[in-house]
Symmetry: C2
Amino acid sequence: MVPTTARTRLRQLDQKGSTEREALDAILDAARVAHVAFTDADAQPFNIPVASARDGDRLLLHGSTGSRMFRTLAAGVPVCASIVLLDGLVLARSAFESSMQYRSAVIFGTPTVINAQQKPEALRRMVEAWMPGRWAELRPPTGRELAATLVVSLLLKEWSVKTSALEPEDPTEDLDAPVWAGVLPIDTNYGSPRPAADLRYSGPVPDYLSGWTIG
Amino acid sequence: MVPTTARTRLRQLDQKGSTEREALDAILDAARVAHVAFTDADAQPFNIPVASARDGDRLLLHGSTGSRMFRTLAAGVPVCASIVLLDGLVLARSAFESSMQYRSAVIFGTPTVINAQQKPEALRRMVEAWMPGRWAELRPPTGRELAATLVVSLLLKEWSVKTSALEPEDPTEDLDAPVWAGVLPIDTNYGSPRPAADLRYSGPVPDYLSGWTIG
């Protein structure tokens, strides 16, 4: 259980909150992207979607050394990373009670740069988080590729999780309204793999793809 | 075409950018949630997922009057709203060339509060953006419900769009690698509607649901 702070304590709809690490990990593992917000010198917020992968107690983010954002992250600014996965629309008998089913996580912290020595292993862990089984089939990164890539790590220390899997919860006086009510699920899945137009390799689609899940 | 500013000019991979409003509108209309970042008095960034609906030249956001975040937004702080829709994993022959297909939008601005007189119509437009055809079937909001709801509007004036639908783009020297390459699509769809456990209405699932799309 993570201790809540003034920033992570949920004030609204507290019954939707979770302080269990398993809940956070499940969301981070199902997501492929985090929205990472930071503030520039003029107090202007920036908020950029970045590929993200959980590795134990940290969230790994990577980008180009040429990226303004990644140079800012590497300088060590406080960030707030936010992720939401949508699971359904809740169609209640009134607009007011209508809502969404979702799983969301918000993480506060200051990223630290992964050094050159640890970078290849961090990249391997990111690839294996997104595409389990694939790293061993790919050639190792070149020195030029490693030099062009910044990897930063955000510790999973101060965070909050909020989820809702609620059905419509209309007050008694609305239950006889002549309107259909229920949940419209939102499904996120991988489709069928499409080979590259320039594919020369004549082997089959790798078995490991069939085990991948998202969302 | 929107003029770019220092904040919205894309510096990385500029060929992925679009300055056409149609591209922005398509992303906002396919999304149901925006990640909205703002900065508190201590320059700490916050970043919260919020249900969002485009209404012409503005993005509408709504929340509870009891929400700390919505009271902050209503006070008129600069925000950066960020949305990403994932379309696929790009499995290249190297980790370095592997990437994702996506559509993303970032919007800068200062939200303004929708006043009490305009609030019912703004809520109608949000519901119709998410659930076209449904508003007319629902009872009108009560005075208490309207009073409990804050609606803010963010003008679509300063924004950037970045999308990628690229296939693997491996350099020639990697094309003979003995590894499968291609795209694994990510599909987001509505599933089959599930009736509420306490549904009393005996009519069919409304026809309008079959026309709804997401993602």
